[in-house]
């Protein structure tokens, strides 16, 4: 099928983009890489949008380190993120995720901001930023505001980004010396969305564990985290399976997704040496 757009405008800078969104009202729609949005438009899942193309705004792409935090611009493409040395050092979880996201040609245009704003519960980056305890930086007509990742994902394809707002960057603490970050997932074919996946981050303060593909939003598995902090992997697997409630669909049953999550947790635990 063919896309139908209400109109298109290319924003020259952030202010211009916010003005355009303000003018368009509820028909306004941010366009960046288009790797989710144009697919939806082609399938006529989204029609009549007033597209505000922010992909050429300078200063919103790239990775910087300041004041003990890593800041990742929303327009940073998956392909660039995967090869970035600061990401490799402080957020290897995101670099691992890139290898699981779609295919090379899609990673050449898709952006982390787009993936987070799109908020597909089976996508990798939303679960990664949850495990990394990131902060989301938004800019709107009334100025900037920060949203903790725990408050960001609201439902399938729904986030705390309000109408007229743009996600400009995310930030996260730089890695501790002994920090562990690991992502594992099961997908039917390379590049497919995962049937289930887990992201584990271990810092001095404890473990953070998030799950993807097993709910309407990425899930922070707090019961399993407490059990892992106590060094009890069996209790952690039991707790994890109890706190997930995945849907069944044509790809896999909910029960199978839960089973996979438990298996992945044991594999991760083995790989990181099994100590709390």
């Amino acid at each position: 099928m063919k896309a139908s757009a209400g109109g298109y405008a290319r924003a020259s800078d952030l202010r211009h983009a916010l003005d355009l969104l303000g003018q368009a009202g509820d028909a306004g729609r941010v366009l960046v890489g288009g790797q989710s949005l144009i697919a939806a438009m082609n399938m006529r899942l989204s029609t009549g949008d007033m597209l505000v193309d922010i992909s050429r705004i300078s200063g919103l792409a790239g990775v910087t380190q300041q004041d003990g935090r890593l800041r990742i611009g929303a327009l940073t493409r998956h392909a660039d993120l995967g090869g970035d040395p600061l990401v490799g050092r402080h957020a290897p979880l995101l670099a691992q995720a890139v290898g699981h996201i779609a295919h090379a040609a899609i990673r050449n245009r898709g952006t982390i901001g787009g993936a987070l704003a799109h908020a597909d519960p089976a996508a990798e980056f939303p679960a990664c930023v949850l495990a990394l305890d990131a902060t989301m930086h938004l800019e709107g007509p009334d100025g900037a505001r920060d949203v903790a990742v725990g408050d960001f994902f609201i439902d399938v394809f729904e986030t705390a980004i309000a109408e007229g707002e743009i996600l400009t960057a995310i930030s996260l603490p730089v890695a501790e010396p002994a920090e562990v970050q690991i992502l594992k997932e099961v997908a039917r074919r390379s590049g497919d969305y995962a049937l289930a996946g887990l992201c584990l981050v271990r810092r001095a303060a404890g473990v953070r564990l998030s799950a993807l593909g097993v709910g309407s939003v990425p899930v922070l598995a707090q019961g399993a985290m407490a059990a892992l902090d106590a060094g009890d992997i069996d209790a952690a697997v039991t707790a994890l399976r109890a706190e997930l409630d995945p849907q069944s669909d044509t790809q896999a049953s909910g029960g199978y997704r839960k089973h996979i999550a438990g298996v992945l947790l044991r594999r991760i635990w083995d790989e990181i040496g099994g100590t709390a």
Binding site: M1, K2, A3, S4, A5, G6, G7, Y8, A9, R10, L20, Q23, A24, L31, G33, G34, Q35, I38, A39, M41, N42, M43, M50, L51, D53, S55, A79, A102, H103, A104, A105, I106, N108, R109, R189, S190, G191
Partner: protein
């Protein structure tokens, strides 16, 4: 609505080394622009949601999905399609290897496949067969199968590094 949002957008870009100017509807994706407006029918429009890879073309040096980029977004870009890559001889060795290894039958997937393969072959090392498969995981071939395609890419990678 105001005049800043347009339903027809003027674009100026380079396609296969030639300057092109056009006025495109806002919803027109790049692959339809290339095929229907410019008559460059080498790359194909198939699934139109990013899954099959038949529409893969090169934009500003990167292999991208022609169906997931608006023509309006290609303003100022340098676009190469299989027609230009063939005429320039840039991937002649890869095309010869596809013929020699029978890496195509109907040829529907081939223009996209070649652009994706060429992208992998710009990297320094000779890719392992697994890496070639992984790189081509987003390009579907419904009739040849992938073994011959992987053979072709591997042989070119080795030949380019004088290790054939």
């Amino acid at each position: 609505m105001t005049d800043v949002f347009r339903d027809k957008i003027d674009i100026a870009l380079s396609v296969n080394g030639e300057p092109v100017e056009a006025r495109v509807p806002a919803g027109r994706h790049l692959i339809d622009f290339l095929r229907l407006d410019l008559g460059l029918t080498g790359a194909h429009a198939s699934c139109e949601h990013g899954v099959c890879g038949a529409c893969t073309v090169r934009v500003d040096g990167d292999a991208v999905r022609g169906c997931l980029m608006l023509a309006a977004q290609a303003d100022g870009a340098e676009v190469w399609t299989i027609e230009g890559l063939s005429d320039s001889g840039a991937i002649r060795d890869l095309q010869d290897a596809f013929v020699a290894r029978n890496a195509l039958q109907c040829g529907f997937c081939t223009p996209g496949m070649l652009v994706a393969c060429a992208d992998l072959l710009t990297r320094d090392a000779v890719p392992a067969r697994d890496e070639i498969r992984e790189h081509l995981s987003g390009n579907y071939c419904r009739c040849t199968g992938y073994e011959a395609i992987v053979d072709a890419v591997e042989s070119v990678a080795k030949a380019r590094r004088g290790a054939a």
